[in-house]
């Protein structure tokens, strides 16, 4: 079945059962519906989004699985990081609704046509979407929470080891 698709699109073979395909974001729905109708990659298993901040791009991988659940096809789409929006896949796969909700909350991607993008995991969250690279979780934590007294943190390990050795030696000399 994979040869049939190779004729239409240039598909990279990543592993014995893993294939990758790079497409433009505006042809997403059309290609995915073509694939799901003609080939046996009928199920959307996952929408994985990676934030390449240095290339100023989000790369979304729509991972499709065959009817026999033996091969996976990763369809990659790249969109800009600022006003990022994509067409929804609700017409093709009902399970996309939840995945789009998750990505909308975590990355701020707007899925045109999916009007049930209410909050998924965070409640009254007014910071920037947390999984974007520019959101620094350690800074957020230091600003909102205080740590318990006596919990020194991320000190250089070597300095600490040297100090303890000196202390032990001094104790031994003292005795």
């Amino acid at each position: 079945m994979i040869e049939f698709l190779k004729k239409h699109y240039e598909i990279v073979e990543k592993g014995s059962r893993l294939y990758k395909l790079q497409i433009e974001s505006d042809k997403l729905v059309e290609i995915l519906s073509y694939i799901s109708i003609n080939s046996n990659f009928i199920t959307l298993s996952q929408i994985a989004c990676t934030d390449w901040i240095e290339d100023e791009v989000f790369s979304l991988n729509y991972i499709l699985t065959t009817k026999e659940r033996d091969k996976n096809l990763m369809v990659e789409v790249r969109i800009g990081r600022v006003h990022c929006s994509l067409p929804t896949l609700l017409t093709l796969y009902p399970q996309a609704q939840v995945m789009e909700r998750d990505l909308h909350e975590m990355y701020g991607i707007n899925f045109r046509g999916n009007d049930t993008l209410y909050d998924f995991a965070l409640e009254n969250w007014n910071e920037i979407p947390p999984l974007r690279r520019e959101f620094d979780t350690l800074a957020y934590v230091n600003e909102h929470f205080d740590f318990r007294i006596g919990r020194e943190d991320n000190k250089d390990v070597k300095v600490e080891v040297k100090r303890r050795k000196a202390q032990a030696k001094e104790l031994k000399d003292g005795k």
Partner: protein, 371 residues
Amino acid sequence: MENNDNQLIKIYHGPQHPGITGNMSMELDLLGETIKEARTHVGYLHRGFEKLIERRTIIQAFTIVCRICVPEPDPNEENFARAVEGLAGIEISQRAKYIRVMVLEMARLAAQMLWMGGQSGSIGLGVVGQWSVYDRDLILDLFEELTGGRVYHMYIYPGGVRRELPNGFLEKLAQLLDYLERRLLDYDGIFFENSTFKKRAIGVGVVNRDEALKNGYVGQVLRGCGIERDVRRDNPYLVYDKLDFEIPTYEGCDVYSRALVRRGEMVESIKILRQVIAQMPSEGAIMQKLPKHRKFKLPKEDIFVATESARGEFGYYMAGDGSEFIRRMQVKGPSLIHGFTLLENLLIDEELSNVALIMNSLGICPPEMER
């Protein structure tokens, strides 16, 4: 459906409720005790895994990954290890593969035992929960001996497994398997053949069979509808292609056939474990030589690996970016689809008393839904 003249009453099958598996909540609109609309609420256990992974090296991420799904941590560890090996191009020894399969199958047995406790507890059969959690504890003792931890084992590390088998471990495992096999007959009497459980479970939570594959349902939901799908056989990993085991399927599409499927899987797991004990190669390095964790760089590639957990297919997407930190790791557990699209549809026009029953039978585990 708006509240037509206050006929519908809104309740929460909420976070603090003895009838849910873990810490999630269902917002239900009831007409009398018939559910007219259901909405799943998660986020109570959200720790922002994927954000934390981006700040951690491989060894640091490894300790956090097994905390994603509480009842069954090992498929996460194995998925993470296989994804890192796929990216870094490491090949692990045959012995390490057999040990990994052993750990996975023992974890599956423990998870099915816990499921039995939850499923029977949802309909008031306290006895089964008491017995099955005790038997699960026997498996956890073996895990403790092997890995040092009862529930979170942190044992499967990219490149193999972290510790050699303690001597006499396989004999103990064989004895335990004989005991569990005898024990399954008791469970038949008290639970699977229980007349009131049949009356409560048959014909309840019936999944629509022909859209099951298209909607991406996995695990027992498929096998409960007579569709024979299992990642271990369809997309084999480790040494599953060398082991022979069947995939139990039943035709009912309802809670009862999913229960029988799980019972069949327990028998299969015992069979697999016996083959693993027999075929375990005695020599072979259990751990490949790996660079120091600060220098363990991952190439700028992405990969998708899947493994079969006790509740269905666990999918890991991982992307490296050349540094020692993982650029992105996205986890998709079986409950993400079962908990939202499937559960919310199954509960329409269902009785309130079947909510806990259906939720348990779909094996919904909230931490993997919102990570």
